[in-house]
Symmetry: C2
Subunit: 343 residues, 2 copies
């Protein structure tokens, strides 16, 4: 009681039983322990303030209660929403969540993954779109393989293609739905903030939007597609570039909400009104951004639920041989940031 730690041995001694018995009582193993001893042990543990040493348990069991969560940037509301879902699920199960932020560096990602491996983490949830760079995908797949071989489980959010269970939004369909709704509003000329060229999610959304336009017999002018960072500032900057050369578009589609936010700020700074001068639409429906004015027309994704589902894929049930893929449909939400074109 006095100094430092109370060990199970001390509890056993205090209760007058063997170490084995004490262990069986405390963690409730398969083996039975008589009511009498059971009480003695719990009472002793209580009195001494015993707290099991988690690393010793991990070492002995060769399996820990750690679950990893890898995101690009936790202060981005997209990631923090998903993180909230993952946390909820892990905490319900009494597991411990380890948060790793990669800052979009695949190197950091691999490093953290191996740290998790060192900790014998039970599972890891990878969030954030993969790049289309083959080399780094291969390296990541290798790390995942190692993680797996040690008995760890892996689930991904929004990055199909990796050898792991995945919950992914139907980016293509969502963007196509959105495009059709915008066309229905009367728009014919579109500009797109397409994000980075090497980001799968961004590409799928671009493709989906594009194919719906084609389906409606509309062209997308090359100069109306602007690439840039997948962030608020990326959206701002891309919009400035777009408007600098000028555009004939009546509607601007940013492939995610944070970019759309940047776009709206840029337009405001340029003295343009949304949606009067230009309609703006996004993708994700980030909860924190719902209070923007004008409210953003976007494609709603149940981000928190997606996090929960990913955690469930990684933690519940038995591991499967074939990677499972849960596809989440996005739902178009029309708000004030888009309106029929005035010209």
């Amino acid at each position: 009681m006095e100094s430092g730690y109370v060990t199970l041995e001390q509890v056993a001694q205090h209760a007058g039983v063997s170490l084995a018995t004490a262990s069986r009582v405390i963690n409730g193993s398969t083996r039975q322990v008589s009511q009498r001893l059971r009480e003695k042990v719990t009472k002793s543990a209580q009195e001494l303030g015993y707290l099991a040493n988690a690393s010793a348990q991990t070492l002995a069991r060769n399996s820990s209660s750690l679950v990893g969560l890898l995101v690009h940037d936790i202060s981005d509301p997209y990631f923090s929403s998903i993180a909230a879902g993952v946390t909820r699920h892990t905490e319900e199960q009494g597991l411990v969540l380890v948060l790793g932020t990669t800052g979009r560096s695949t190197q950091t990602e691999s490093r953290i993954l191996s740290t998790l491996r060192a900790h014998r983490a039970r599972a890891v949830v990878l969030v954030g779109s993969r790049s289309t760079d083959e080399e780094s995908n291969r390296r990541l797949a290798q790390e995942i393989h190692l993680f797996r071989r040690q008995g760890g489980r892996v689930a991904c959010v929004s990055q199909e293609g990796l050898p792991a269970d995945t919950v992914t939004p139907d980016n293509h369909a969502g963007a196509a739905d959105l495009a059709r709704r915008l066309i229905a509003q009367g728009h014919r000329e579109f500009a797109i903030l397409a994000g980075p060229t090497d980001l799968q999610t961004a590409r799928e959304r671009l493709d989906g939007f594009h194919s719906a336009l084609s389906g409606a017999g509309l062209q997308l002018a090359h100069h109306n597609v602007v690439h840039g960072a997948f962030t608020r500032d990326g959206g701002y900057e891309s919009t400035r570039r777009l408007m600098a050369v000028g555009t004939d578009a009546t509607c601007l589609f940013a492939v995610n909400d944070v970019m759309a936010t940047g776009a709206m700020a840029a337009l405001r700074d340029l003295g343009l009104r949304v949606p009067t001068d230009l309609s703006v639409a996004g993708f994700d429906d980030i909860p924190t951004l719902r209070d923007l004015t004008p409210a953003l027309t976007t494609v709603r994704l149940p981000l928190e639920r997606m996090g929960e589902q990913a955690a469930a894929l990684a933690l519940d049930g038995e591991p499967t041989d074939q990677p499972r893929v849960v596809t989440v449909k996005g739902e178009v939400v029309e708000r004030e940031s888009t309106a029929p074109p005035t010209r």
Copy 2:
């Protein structure tokens, strides 16, 4: 290489040295190892793909590389901003961040704290205002004491009064500064969304605002102070209640930005314009909310830096006997959500 894990013993064998030597090479202990053996060991480790078992290390060293971070709700941008700072600092040091979300329950908070204790976490950063409930504060202080006794270090953000290093915003001064600026704009009648009654941060901001008003010879009518949840929806709901009974205020101060966001939404729904019909001010200057329109007048806190500082307090240097307190000044940022009153 084939099955499961590579242990240090295997590395030692492969290199033809003792376990002790291998250990000394890999972790770079105080003891010297000859260049010759050093190379042999690193080469073997490399070849075999050795990765140290973190729990075994923790057990042997009786100190882990885990750092805890406790927040109320990670999807709240206030917390995720701070979390970003904490992550940055911990990852720089090669430490592993454990994220716990308490959902504002002190019980959950204690539970997570003891889990961290079980893991021999090196430090923990507690974020989020303490309640003014004495009983739960006492329990928390007790947990902190236990954590400390095991060699763990504790730092807090925004919750002075606990026996731990703290970085805290100067809520009183910030709110008072804001009040004076608003008075200078010409406002005389204020309404306040004061948050929960038992939240220290909320109370300090209310007090600071209030004392600046008194200093200017202004009264704050009782019916113009509304209490409610510290969240966006709390702000919305409080505003609805305030407006339902009617107010003579020309300016509404919400004690944090997310509440202010809710307030603006409520006013919009009521058909009132900000700032024409009513000015609105907040506190925190949440980065994600900077794109609201009208842009929010608020008190800027360097949230990410505060997170870093807290992590630094908990990790760098030697533990001190006396709790250190770092006070962060907030800076008033005037934006479009406040304007001189029109009546």
